[in-house]
C-alpha cells in the first residue's frame, strides 16, 4: 500500500463543539460530555460503535496532571483503548487517522477540551517554557509572540496598522463569539500586552470543548463524504532563539508531508478554504507563506479564532469547519491547521477533501 492509499478511506463522520464562553460554568467533564453526545448524534452512531478514543488536553492548562482522567468516563473510554495527546486537538485527530489507516480500529472518537478561565492563561504558559534558561526570566508564550511580531515588523511601522486592520476584519466577520469588537483605531489604542501586540490584536480566549468522529470508509452519508486526504505534523526546537522566527518552518514541513500524502502538487490552487489557527494577525502571514495557499483560497470565512477559542481545541474546531466548508462539493478541498507551544513550535495540518 502506498502512502496515498493508506489514508484514502478515513472520513469525518460527525462532530460538535461548544460555543466558546468566558467562563463556561460547566465542569470539564460536562463540557466534554456535551460535545461527545452531540458528535455521536451528528454521526448517527452510538457509544458501542466507537472502537477507541483519542483526547487532547494540556495538564498545565487544566491545573491537574493526567487531565484526561477527568473525562475518561464521559468520552466512553472506560474499557476501551484510550490515547491522550498533550497538544492541539488536530494532533489528536491525526493520531486517530493513523490508528484507522493502520487498520487498528474502524471508528475513533477525538475529543479536545480547554478552559482558559481557570487561570491567567498567559502567566500559566510561563511554566511550559524551559525551566533553566527561559522560565526564570519570566518568558511566556505571549513574550515570544511579541518578539516574533517585532522581528517580523522590523523597521516597517505601517505593518502595525495592517495587523490592526486584519484583526478588526476577522473580529467583524466572526459575528458574535466572545470578546469585544474593535474598530481599527480602537485596536491601535487598545492596551499593549506584548509590544507591538495589543489586546485588540489577540483572538479572545475562553472555555471550549470539541469532538469529532473519524471512521474508515464512511458509507453513503448524507451530503457526501469528507475524507482526510493528507495529514502532517512537526515539532520545532523549543528555544525560540534557536529558530528563525520570521517563518513557520515547522508548518512548511508539516504541509509538505500532508500535500505529498494527498497528491497535491500546487497548494496555491488546491484549496477552496483554509482554516488556520492564528491567535495574532502576524501569524496569518506566517501561515499563508508556510502553507503556500493562494489568492483563491478563502481564509477563515467565520473569522477564525477571533470568534473565540480555547486552549487545545483550536485545530480540532478548524477541522470541523474545514469539513463543513467542503462537504457536498465533490472535489473541493479545505486545509485545517492547529498549533501549540511558544511561537508555533508544534504544527499540525489536515487536508479535507469532499468525495
Amino acid at each position: 500500500m502506498n502512502r496515498q492509499q493508506s489514508t484514502d478511506g478515513v472520513s469525518v463522520l460527525g462532530g460538535a463543539e461548544t460555543a466558546i464562553a468566558l467562563p463556561d460554568p460547566r465542569s470539564i467533564a460536562e463540557m466534554a460530555l456535551n460535545v461527545v453526545e452531540r458528535a455521536l448524534e451528528d454521526a448517527e452512531l452510538r457509544w458501542s460503535d466507537i472502537d477507541a478514543v483519542v483526547t487532547a488536553s494540556v495538564d498545565l492548562f487544566d491545573g491537574l496532571t493526567a487531565s484526561s482522567i477527568a473525562v475518561t468516563e464521559v468520552v466512553g473510554a472506560v474499557m476501551k483503548p484510550e490515547t491522550r495527546i498533550a497538544a492541539d486537538g488536530l494532533a489528536a485527530a491525526i493520531q486517530a487517522v493513523h490508528q484507522i489507516a493502520a487498520g487498528a480500529y474502524d471508528t475513533v472518537l477525538v475529543v479536545a477540551h480547554g478552559k482558559a478561565s481557570m487561570a491567567h492563561h498567559w502567566n500559566l504558559t510561563s511554566w511550559a517554557m524551559d525551566p533553566i534558561f527561559l522560565q526564570p526570566l519570566g518568558v511566556d508564550f505571549l513574550t515570544v509572540a511579541g518578539l516574533q511580531a517585532d522581528l517580523i515588523a522590523g523597521s516597517d511601522s505601517s505593518i502595525i496598522r495592517r495587523w490592526a486592520e486584519l484583526a478588526a476584519h476577522r473580529k467583524r466577520t466572526a459575528r458574535g463569539g466572545i470578546g469585544e469588537s474593535f474598530t481599527i483605531d480602537e485596536v491601535l489604542e487598545s492596551p499593549v500586552i506584548a509590544a507591538p501586540i495589543r489586546v485588540g490584536m489577540c483572538a479572545p480566549l475562553g472555555d471550549g470543548a470539541c469532538a469529532v468522529v473519524l471512521g474508515a470508509g464512511g458509507g453513503e452519508t448524507t451530503g457526501g463524504r469528507a475524507v482526510i486526504a493528507g495529514t502532517g505534523h512537526d515539532l520545532d526546537s523549543h528555544h525560540p532563539g534557536d529558530r528563525d522566527l520570521t517563518e513557520w518552518a515547522g508548518l512548511r514541513r508539516a504541509c509538505l508531508r500532508a500535500y505529498d500524502m494527498a497528491g497535491i502538487t500546487d497548494p496555491a490552487v488546491a484549496f477552496a478554504v483554509a482554516e488556520p489557527s492564528c491567535l495574532f494577525p502576524h501569524e496569518e502571514a506566517l501561515f499563508i507563506d508556510a502553507a503556500g495557499v493562494g489568492e483563491q483560497t478563502v481564509l477563515s470565512p467565520d473569522g477564525g479564532l477571533f470568534a473565540g477559542t480555547a486552549p487545545a481545541i483550536s485545530g480540532l474546531g478548524r477541522l470541523l469547519r474545514a469539513t463543513k466548508a467542503v462537504k457536498g462539493n465533490s472535489g473541493h478541498r479545505a486545509l485545517a491547521h492547529g498549533t501549540w507551544g511558544p511561537a508555533g513550535q508544534g504544527q499540525a495540518v489536515a487536508v479535507v477533501e469532499a468525495r
Binding site: 534558561f133 513574550t143 500586552i193 525560540p240 532563539g241 534557536d242
Partner: protein, 136 residues
C-alpha cells in the same frame, strides 16, 4: 460553584552537565558560553548538551558575547523589556532582558551583558543587556 485553589510546590530542576557548565561560568567568571557542534559547526547559546540544528551531542564550549545585537524587542506590562539577542560568535539568539532605554529597540542595536554583583549560578546572573557604550 467555582472552587478557588492554587498550586505552589518547591521543585528541583537539573540544569544538566553542559547547562551547569554554562551557569557556573556565569557565576564564577562572568563569561557566557556557547556550545559548538562538532558536526555542523553551529554555535548555540545558551550552551546545552545537544545541537539544536542537528541533534549532535555537544561538549565543546566556547566563549560568546558579552556583546551582541538586538534582533527583536518586546515589552509587557509589569515586566522588564525582553530582547532576542544575537551574541557575537553565536549562531542562535538568546532571550534576555533589555535594561536601558524605554520604548521600541531598533533592530541591530549593539548591546552588552551586565552581570549581577551577587551571582548564584542562574540565568539571572546576567541582569540583562544594555546599550554598548560608545555605540551610536
Amino acid at each position: 460553584m467555582i472552587l478557588e485553589g492554587s498550586i505552589r510546590l518547591p521543585f528541583s530542576y537539573a540544569a544538566g552537565v553542559v547547562g551547569s557548565r554554562f551557569l557556573v561560568a556565569l557565576r564564577d567568571e562572568q563569561v557566557i558560553l556557547g556550545g559548538r557542534c562538532s558536526d555542523c559547526g553551529t554555535v548555540s547559546c545558551p550552551a546545552r548538551s545537544m545541537c539544536p540544528e542537528c541533534g549532535t551531542h555537544v561538549d565543546d564550549l566556547v566563549e560568546v558575547g558579552p556583546g551582541g545585537t538586538v534582533e527583536a524587542w518586546t515589552e509587557m506590562p509589569g515586566k522588564p523589556a525582553f530582547g532576542l539577542i544575537r551574541l557575537d560568535g553565536a549562531d542562535t539568539a538568546l532571550i534576555h532582558h533589555l535594561l536601558s532605554g524605554e520604548g521600541k529597540w531598533q533592530p541591530n542595536t549593539r548591546v552588552t551583558a551586565r552581570f549581577a554583583p551577587e551571582r548564584v549560578g542562574d540565568i539571572n546572573d546576567i541582569e540583562g543587556f544594555e546599550e554598548e557604550r560608545g555605540a551610536s
